[in-house]
Amino acid sequence: MAHSAEEIRSHVRFYIGVFVGLIILTILTVWIDQFHIGAEDSDVGNTIVGLAIATLKAGLVAAFFMHLTSEKPMIFRFLFATVAFVIAMFILMLLAHFDPIVPVFVQ
């Protein structure tokens, strides 16, 4: 991590830029929430948009503030596994939720 002083100063300017971006995105989420997106009686549309913006913001924080853009492969290896497991947990739990044995009474 032998950053030169000049590098660090230019980084700082960049962080400020990211900060501004994050603020704009936050305002965007709140603003967009007034509108109903998608089908009339479901909030799936809003949910997707809200989560998309949140993911984008989280991505910015992780990539720049947490220096993931210049991180070593070792870290990526296990972060990759972690993310895979979270997604697996999430999807499989939902799959189980949506695939019960269908109750059928033959009347």
Partner: protein, 262 residues
Amino acid sequence: MEIPYTVTARADTGLWNAKIGIWLFLASEVMLFGGLFSGYVFLRLGAASTPDYDWPTELLNVPMGFVNTLILIGSSVTVILSWSALKLREYNKFKIWMSITLLCAVAFLGIKTVEYTEKFTGYGIFLNDGAEIKGKYATEQEGFVTIVPKYPEKAEAAGFTPAPATLAVHEGSYVIPVENVVRWSNFQPSYNTFYSIYFTLTGLHALHVIGGVVVLGYFLFFGGPMWRTNPEHLANRVEVGGLFWHFVDLVWIFLFPILYLM
């Protein structure tokens, strides 16, 4: 022999120990909040499949959540600035930025406290016929439940009557006989599934914030000796603490829309 790579990076991995340590810790935190998040979705889908279950997002205070989001994002920037200052060996700047970070954290917790108080003084009443009346300052006295409803029209439609003078502790109170009430309480975790998950998620997050305050505060107030002997080590520690802090921010970035908006 001493433990190597506490400050300098190992050549083949390019990393020093604490850097790996913190990322591993964050990985487990991702699983923790991932589990909570999966739980949230699971419960919400369950709620959505029952006909009259409500998910009262709208009761949360969006402006406060919004301001808190900005505060946390801001503190994320200041913590990274304080790290940069250390890297540039500017100890005073480090102190300034770190102090601002901590102030942000305290402000965040302050706003959170206000929000929690708001919840604990708000009340909801579940009636026999399935209606739910929300408001403030509910009490139970002389066989009646009194409340200052948020929407008086709704309360009247549900059978509430304006409180007689003896029962009207607060202005605009309405009453309903206890027999008509299934249960009533303030907006505490047990109020319904939404508040359960709201308090659990934000409570855990607040614990993380407090943890971050302790760690970063330690660097700020007790970092002096290390700064004099081994500033690079201090910078590394601040980087590690900062990574944790960014993660706390990152979690909030998800919590805000999930809980307040959606």
